[in-house]
Each structure stands twice: as structure tokens, then as C-alpha cells.
């Protein structure tokens, strides 16, 4: 029987915590290691934007077809082996989250899905946000992404079930003695570089603007007489009228700029 957590979490200041006993965690280990049947997934939306739900459903469509691995989304936590927590865990959703947790039979695996489920995501410091499913229930696997793509979803499940290996490892770098930094595009005058970067960002927006400016600055070498030909060749390869227009504007800036004197 589920404990009476409602009083504690709704009214009391103390936070209700779940203790997983030894027997359950042993059973959970077995579930993760040698499950010889399909896994049933129940999706618990704890205050998400629905982006994660869309990707979960994309993962069970015929294109990605998670069901070929036996991963099946069910509509009741009582059938579930895996509880998939999405959303940043808002104040009003933590009791339903706990109810779903207690309704699922042991052994069960809890997965935090998406940036919000892992940590609260972009809403982590908003009011009424508890900041991730792991604040409420014990989480066994984390699938980050905003939202995770269907491929990332399939990878996450396969990793949680021990079919694929975990790729991401924590790292800690210390500054080395021989670490030295040099400006990019050292042969290009600083003010030309700034003008090109500004104009490119103005025309193409924040992320592509930098990429386009970098491509342009890579192409122009002040001493090279064939700069214009290189640019034309690049534009032919890319075959994008938007890029052609932006490059034309950048070329105007480049031509207007004094060279070498």
C-alpha cells in the first residue's frame, strides 16, 4: 500500500523521500540486466512543454519503431516496468508523480527524460519548479536533450537496459603550462573582421551568422589575388541564394576596406 505522502508534501515543510530497500534494488538490477521480455513504459508528464511527449511518440512511430526492441508505451502505471518522467517537476505535479511511482509494481526503473526531467532545464530557477524528477523519485537513467531526438530516446532506453554502452563520461581539465591562445584569422585586419562578423550576424541571425562570417573570413586572404574566384566557387558549391546575398554584402565591405596601406 502506498504511504500517505500527500499530507507531508502538500502541507508540511519536510520533503517526502523514497527509500529503495535492498531487495528492490537487487530485483531492479535483475530487471536491467536480463529482462527476457518486452518492457512497458509509462510516461509521466510533470509539467513539461509537450516537446518531449512529441519526441516519445515519434520514437514509437514506424520510422523509429521502438517496439521492435519490445519497448511499448502503456497507459497505466500499474503495467509499467519503466516510468519515464518528463517535465521540470512543478509543485502541483509532484504528488501525481509520486502516485504514479507507487502505483507501478516493483521492480521498476525510473528514467528522467529531457533537459527538464534531468535537472529542471531552462525552468530550473522558476518559482514552483522542483528542478528535475530526481528531486522526487529515485532516478536510474538520465536522457538529456531539449527534447531528445527519437534516436536519442532509443539510445537512452537501449543504454538503460544494458544493450548499448554509455558514451558520455565526466572530465576534469586543468590548465597546462604550454597552453597559449592566438586570435583567429590573424592575417585579416581586426576592424575588417569585426565589420564582416557584425554584418553577417545582422543578416543571418545569431548562430548561422557566425558560421557564415567564419566561412567568408577563411576564403579571403589579403595577399591572394584570386579571392573573388574562391568566393564564387564556394557559392557555386553551396548553391544557396540566401548565402549568395549575404556574401555579396560581405564582399562589398571587403572591397571598401583599405588593403595593405
Amino acid at each position: 500500500m502506498a504511504p500517505d505522502y500527500t499530507k507531508d508534501t502538500l502541507l508540511g515543510a519536510s520533503r517526502y523521500t523514497i527509500h529503495v530497500d535492498e531487495e528492490t534494488s537487487r530485483l531492479k538490477g535483475t530487471l536491467l540486466k536480463d529482462i527476457r521480455r518486452s518492457v512497458f513504459v509509462y510516461r509521466v508528464d510533470c509539467g513539461g512543454c509537450n516537446g518531449c511527449e512529441i519526441e516519445i511518440f515519434a520514437a514509437i512511430t514506424p520510422i523509429f519503431d521502438a517496439e521492435r526492441f519490445g519497448i511499448k508505451v502503456v497507459s497505466s502505471p500499474r503495467h509499467a516496468d519503466i516510468l519515464l518522467y518528463t517535465g521540470s517537476m512543478t509543485r502541483s505535479m509532484r504528488v501525481p508523480a509520486l502516485r504514479a511511482y507507487h502505483a507501478a509494481p516493483d521492480p521498476k526503473v525510473c528514467v528522467a527524460y529531457g533537459a527538464c526531467g534531468c535537472s529542471g532545464g531552462i525552468f530550473h530557477d522558476a518559482y514552483c519548479v522542483w528542478g528535475g524528477a530526481d528531486q522526487i523519485v529515485p532516478i536510474d537513467a538520465y536522457i538529456p536533450g531539449c527534447p531528445p531526438t527519437p534516436s536519442a530516446t532509443i539510445y537512452g532506453f537501449a543504454m538503460a537496459l544494458g544493450l548499448l554502452k554509455q558514451k558520455l563520461k565526466t572530465s576534469h581539465h586543468m590548465q597546462q603550462e604550454d597552453e597559449h591562445i592566438h586570435p583567429r584569422h590573424p592575417e585579416i585586419p581586426l576592424d575588417l573582421r569585426i565589420d564582416v562578423e557584425r554584418e553577417s550576424r545582422r543578416m543571418a541571425g545569431y548562430w548561422h551568422g557566425k558560421k557564415i562570417a567564419d566561412a567568408f573570413l577563411d576564403l579571403i586572404q589579403p595577399a591572394d589575388p584570386q579571392v573573388e574566384q574562391h568566393i564564387q566557387e564556394h557559392l557555386r558549391q553551396q548553391d544557396d541564394p540566401r548565402l549568395t546575398e549575404i556574401f555579396a554584402r560581405l564582399q562589398e565591405i571587403y572591397r571598401a576596406h583599405p588593403k595593405g596601406e
Binding site: 521492435r68 538529456p144 531528445p148 586570435p183
Partner: protein
């Protein structure tokens, strides 16, 4: 009827991608895991300021004289703002999307950099690599010789000392004006 259906099935073929068995097909412009090159990073904190969900953070430890850059992939929304603001190209989004982990600690990455001390008062005030980068930029902008040395002396002084140094100069200007 059945024949028609079978023909249709054969015509359509298999729609399912083979993903876990073959590498996934990634479209150009896909924004995946931000990759940090610690050697290029100058710990200037531009990314930490730009990062909308505060996945990127910068913290200074004055006792140890280091400034720590860290990323928490569990919070990252893959917007690419960090890549855009990075002056040295140290952080770049990659097509890597397989980020799922069993242990939350594996979602963190950290890089520590040395802080430089003010030449006048000895207070730690900026990452040493950042100062080096600014100096190389001034060199690129065309400064050399005495001017560059002057700029270097100015750069290695903390903002408080800079203000203190400016006061006598300002007073002098004031008196000259009168």
C-alpha cells in the same frame, strides 16, 4: 484486394531506420552536444553569460587561484548561443546526440584555469589566458613597441588599482582646466 495491398506494401518498402545498428542519419545544421576544447578556452565567461538555462557556469576560487568553467549537459537546451559568443571557437556544437547516462555525475564537465594577480596589489582579478588573448588582439590591431608595453602594463592591473591610478591624473586634468 489482398494482391493490391501486398503490391502497395512492396512499393512502399521498409520505412524504419536501422538506427542503433547503423549510425543515425544527421541533417546538416543539427545542434548536438557542445564540445569544449579546453586548450582554446580563455575562461572569459561569455558562454556562461549567454547560456539561457545556466548549463554553463563559471566560478572563481580565490583560495586556489583558479577559475572553473563547467557544463552540465542535463540542463543544456542545445541552442548554440555558447558557440556563437565564443571569441576563440573553443566551444562548438557537434552532431553527437547519444548523451544518456546512468550516473548524473557523468553529465558534468569541468575545466580549471589560472587566475592572474594584479601587479600592484596582488589581488587575483582575471584569467591569465584571457589577458594573454586581449594582448594578442591589441597586437593584431596594429599596436607595437612602447604603446604595446604600455597597454600590457595597463592590462595587468586590477580595476580597483586602475581607478586609484586614474584619480591623480583626473585631478591634474581638473586643475589644468581651471
Amino acid at each position: 484486394m489482398v494482391f493490391k495491398l501486398v503490391r502497395e506494401v512492396l512499393r512502399v518498402g521498409e520505412a524504419t531506420v536501422l538506427y542503433p545498428f547503423v549510425p543515425a542519419e544527421i541533417s546538416p545544421g543539427f545542434r548536438g552536444k557542445p564540445k569544449h576544447d579546453p586548450a582554446l578556452c580563455i575562461a572569459c565567461a561569455a558562454c556562461a553569460v549567454a547560456c539561457p538555462p545556466n548549463a554553463l557556469t563559471i566560478a572563481a576560487d580565490l583560495d586556489q587561484g583558479i577559475i572553473s568553467w563547467s557544463i552540465f549537459y542535463g540542463r543544456c537546451i542545445f541552442c548554440g548561443r555558447c558557440e556563437e559568443v565564443c571569441p576563440t571557437g573553443a566551444i562548438q556544437l557537434t552532431p553527437e546526440f547519444e548523451l544518456a547516462v546512468m550516473d548524473k555525475a557523468d553529465l558534468y564537465e569541468q575545466a580549471d584555469y589560472q587566475l592572474a594577480a594584479c601587479t600592484q596589489c596582488g589581488v587575483l582579478f582575471a584569467p591569465a589566458k584571457e589577458l594573454e588573448y586581449v594582448l594578442s588582439l591589441t597586437e593584431q590591431a596594429g599596436l607595437s613597441g612602447e604603446e604595446l608595453a604600455e597597454r600590457k602594463a595597463l592590462l595587468s592591473v586590477c580595476p580597483t588599482c586602475k581607478r586609484k591610478n586614474d584619480i591623480p591624473k583626473l585631478l591634474q586634468l581638473d586643475q589644468e582646466a581651471v
